[in-house]
Structures are given as structure tokens and as C-alpha cells.
Symmetry: C2
Subunit: 297 residues, 2 copies
């Protein structure tokens, strides 16, 4: 972030002012990436809170007011809301402007953009690999994107200049752009992001189901806290992820259930060497990941 560089955009429009949209507004303002940041959220209270938190320069009263004359439009809503938003804003979009999104799943969003935007629109999908189990503007931070990988998923034949512009935006807010095919992206995040979310929710649901769950939960310590953290995230966002990435997620779930079944078999067989080998392999892979790829603690 270098505030002395000239702004990359004259007017940025952010649709959706929760954790992600609010954080992006803060980060763009802090880095001078856009001369003006306009924001819109369907909930008036969210818009007001974003203005108060300094996430946007101005609050727009509608989607169309927000995107009019914007040379950057960012969709920062739950994924299922995006198709209608794209259709609604299409007539007002600046043909030379850049349109992107922050959604957790990409193939579906790309298909909607192809269907809903006029031929000349410069849409390039995006997904910053960061977040928090806390949602809303209250959890937003200009530092959210710092050091994070930010996937860029251009369509075939996408405008190279638009990709370059999105890359620069990403770098200005401290993240690391990585171009990846949307289908490849969705399969990868199904394993390393969506499956952990389902695993966390299922741990809580299974723990809260026993006869004595009230007592059981009194014994939960830091391990329970961390493995279940994602279960405290937005249910709406989780639902949309499941509905827009169903294929890759069920594939990842099947591999997970199969792995759990194989561990169960080792336990019932009292296979000590087998269990030791599996836990050692898990530790090795996890330590390798921690060393190579883990975000800052």
C-alpha cells in the first residue's frame, strides 16, 4: 500500500457492506486505490454503519445509483444474491469499467456474468482467501487482505488489461493475485475451505446431540474452539457456498467420510501401527502446509 501512487480508479462501487465489502472499502481508502468509494447495502443500517466506520466515502441509495459512473464495481454479497444484482446493474455499467466479485465460489458466478452482462462488460471473477467467523462491518478491517492469496478467475478471452487492473488493485490492498481457472478454483476451495466449514458445523451439531451435551461442552478446550470456529460464521454464506459449489463439495465430503471410515476401522481393529502411520502422515502434511502456506497468526 502506497498512498502516494495516483488512484487506480476514480469511482469504486461496492455492493454489500459486510465483513468483506467493508474491509475492501477500508483497504482501498487507506491505500488511495480509488478517488471515491461508494457503497450500497440492502440493509440501511449496514450502509450507515459502513459510513460511520469509514469504509466508504458515500452511501448510495440504490444499486444503480451506486454503480453509475463507477469504473470499478465489486460484488461483495453472498453468492446467491449476485445473479440478480448483475442483471439489475447491467444497463448502468460503464463499458470501460471493471466488474469483479469477492464470492467464495467462482464457476457459477462466471456463468451468471456471461448471461447477465452486456457483451462489452469487463467482468473478471475474484476470491480473496481470507475472512473471519465474525461477520458484518463490525469485524471489517483494512488489514484483512494483507498477505492473503486472492484468486482471479478470468473467462477465456477476458480482457488482459482488466486482469492486470484487478491484479494491481489486489496488490494495492496488500494481497497476492493468483490467476486460476474457475473450475480448478472451486475444486480446490471445496477441499481447503468449504469442507473445513462443513466439518466444523458437523462437529458442533454432533457434540450438541448427545444425551449429556450440556456437560460434554463444559470440557471443550482450545482444540474444540479452533476446530469449530468456522461454525460461528454466517449461515447464509455457508448455504450459498453449498448451493453454488455442490459438485466439488460432495466429492470432497465423500473423500472426507471415506478417510474417517478408514480411521474408524483402524480403531476398531486396535491397529496401533496403522493409526500411528496415519497420524504421522497427517502431521507431516499439516506441518508442511504450515511452513509453506499458512497465513500469519
Amino acid at each position: 500500500m502506497n498512498a502516494r501512487e495516483p488512484p487506480l480508479f476514480s469511482r469504486a462501487a461496492i455492493i454489500g457492506l459486510g465483513l468483506m465489502g467493508g474491509s475492501l472499502g477500508m483497504a482501498m481508502r487507506a491505500s488511495g486505490t480509488a478517488a471515491t468509494v461508494s457503497g450500497y447495502d440492502p440493509e440501511d443500517s449496514a450502509t450507515a454503519a459502513a459510513v460511520a466506520a469509514g469504509a466508504v466515502d458515500e452511501a448510495a441509495a440504490s444499486v444503480t445509483a451506486c454503480v453509475t459512473n463507477a469504473d470499478l464495481v465489486v460484488l461483495a454479497t453472498p453468492v446467491l444474491a449476485m445473479r440478480q444484482l448483475l442483471a439489475e446493474m447491467a444497463p448502468m455499467l460503464d463499458p470501460g469499467g471493471l466488474v469483479t466479485d469477492l464470492g467464495s465460489t467462482k464457476a457459477q458466478v462466471m456463468a451468471w456474468a456471461r448471461a447477465e452482462l452486456p457483451g462489452g462488460a469487463r467482468f473478471v471473477g475474484g476470491h480473496p482467501m481470507c475472512g473471519s467467523e465474525r461477520s458484518g462491518i463490525g469485524a471489517a478491517s483494512a488489514a484483512l487482505f494483507r498477505g492473503a492469496v486472492w484468486c482471479i478467475t478470468p473467462d477465456e478471452g477476458a480482457d488482459a488489461a482488466a486482469i492486470a487492473q484487478l491484479s494491481e488493485l489486489i496488490q494495492r490492498v496488500g494481497a497476492r493475485p493468483a490467476v486460476v481457472d474457475a473450475v480448478r478454483h472451486d475444486a480446490a476451495v471445496a477441499r481447503v475451505s468449504h469442507l473445513p466449514l462443513l466439518a466444523a458445523a458437523a462437529l458442533v451439531l454432533a457434540a450438541a446431540k448427545g444425551d449429556q451435551w450440556r456437560f460434554d461442552l463444559t470440557l471443550g478446550a482450545s482444540g474444540f474452539r479452533d476446530t469449530t470456529r468456522l461454525a460461528s460464521g454466517s449461515p447464509l454464506m455457508a448455504r450459498d457456498i453449498c448451493l453454488t459449489n455442490a459438485g466439488p463439495i460432495t466429492t470432497a465430503l465423500d473423500a472426507y467420510i471415506e478417510t474417517l471410515q478408514s480411521l474408524r476401522t483402524l480403531i476398531t481393529e486396535k491397529n496401533g501401527p496403522g493409526l500411528l502411520a496415519r497420524f504421522a502422515a497427517a502431521r507431516e502434511a499439516r506441518d508442511h502446509w504450515q511452513h509453506e502456506h499458512a497465513p500469519g497468526q
Copy 2:
């Protein structure tokens, strides 16, 4: 912790000087809970490191040397090592002394203590609900137990004075004693501690199994980091937990797999309301736990 109180024990013996044993030595020394803390570890390097780290006052050359004349003996090894240790130390135990352990599973350890210790031995099982994915003395800290629930699992007819003595030890190192039946304890920790451990290891193993896992893992962010943290723990400890708590763990695993299957069904049916309800229930239960029981962050 109040160093001005007189020591509760004249000579404490800790067998096993890793994360848990080392931390207990540090906490007892910092709080003046024992006049002298003696330690033994089968690995000479671990013993030397514990002395250097100030976790023990003196290093014993053998189990029998360590426990001789001790009025407190603490087993802080992986669970499967405990039966032989109990047999080995039995002839040397002070009949008036207190013997306890820090093992993650309790019914099996209690049965071994009944089998191996002389009739008069005052054994009371224990399990502090805290830890770290890091193992060894390098991760040990006098503050590890602060604020943690520490389960006490006395046998029927256990010496009330011994239970009281263990409770006081626990409070002196900053933790909160909770008396619980060993079988009840094992069922509860299967759900809130052992299942999360298996879930974390399986997440890593499943993620590392795909064709493109090297790429997939580059997208892992804070969610992957936290849900898989426990997979970086000691494989030996994980194996021993599975082998000594097999029944409750398979019951918990079955409930978990069933929950995952039900989520999978909702996804394949594209059942938005059903998914939303499940994620909302998980968030509510998790937020309740976080509010009521979560350890300090």
C-alpha cells in the same frame, strides 16, 4: 497461585517431561506447590532440557529413583506407557502419598491403577483440559493450566483426603477442579476433544489426497489453519487416545459421519432452507459454547 502458602507436597515426582509434565513442573515450582520437584523421562535429552528450562529441581536417573520418598507422583506420559510405569513404581510408592496422572482417557488408566497398585495406594485420576498442538518441553509453560477445567476421576471409595489434595494442587496451578466419573469423562472427551482430533487429521489427509493437492493447499487460509491445527500434535498421543478410548470414540465418529451424511443429502437435494437451518443451529450452539465455556483466546 500464591507462593506464600506453604508447599502442599515435600517432594513431587513427574514421570514424563514433555508439554504436559514440563508445564506442570513449571507451574508447581512457580506456585511453590512442592518443596522439590523431581523429574524423569526415558529420553535423557528430554530430562536435560527440562532441567535447563527450570521445569524440575532435579533430574532422576530412573522411575524408581524419581518416585522414592515422593508424596506426589504424577504420570505425564502417553497413556499406553502408564500400565508398565505403575507396575514398576508400585513397590517404591509412599503408602501415604498421592498418585495421579494427566492422561486424556480415564477408564483404562483407572483399571490399570486398580490392577497394578497395592491396596493402600492413593490413586486419583486426572485430566487437565488444555494442551497445544506443539509437543515437548519447548512448548511447556507455567501458564498452560490457567483457567482450564481439570477433571478428577476418583474410583468408588477413593480417599476423600486424596481427592481434596489433588483439588488443591489443581487450584494452586490456576486450574478449576471438576470431579467426574471416568466413564462419563471418556464419553464427553470423545465428543469434544478426541473427535475434533480425528476430524482435523482426516481433513488434512483428505486434502492431501487429491490429484492437485499441492495447488489446493496453496489456497488454505485461516479456516484451514484452525480446523487442522490438532493434526500437528503428537501422533503417539493420538494413537494412545484412540486405543484406550475406542468405544466412545467410535460412537462419536458414527454420530459425526451421520451428521456429515445428512448435510451431504441437503446439498445434493439443493435444500436451501434445510442447509440454512442446520448452519444456524450450529452457529447458535457454537456461540453459546463460546460465551459460556471457551478458554481464553
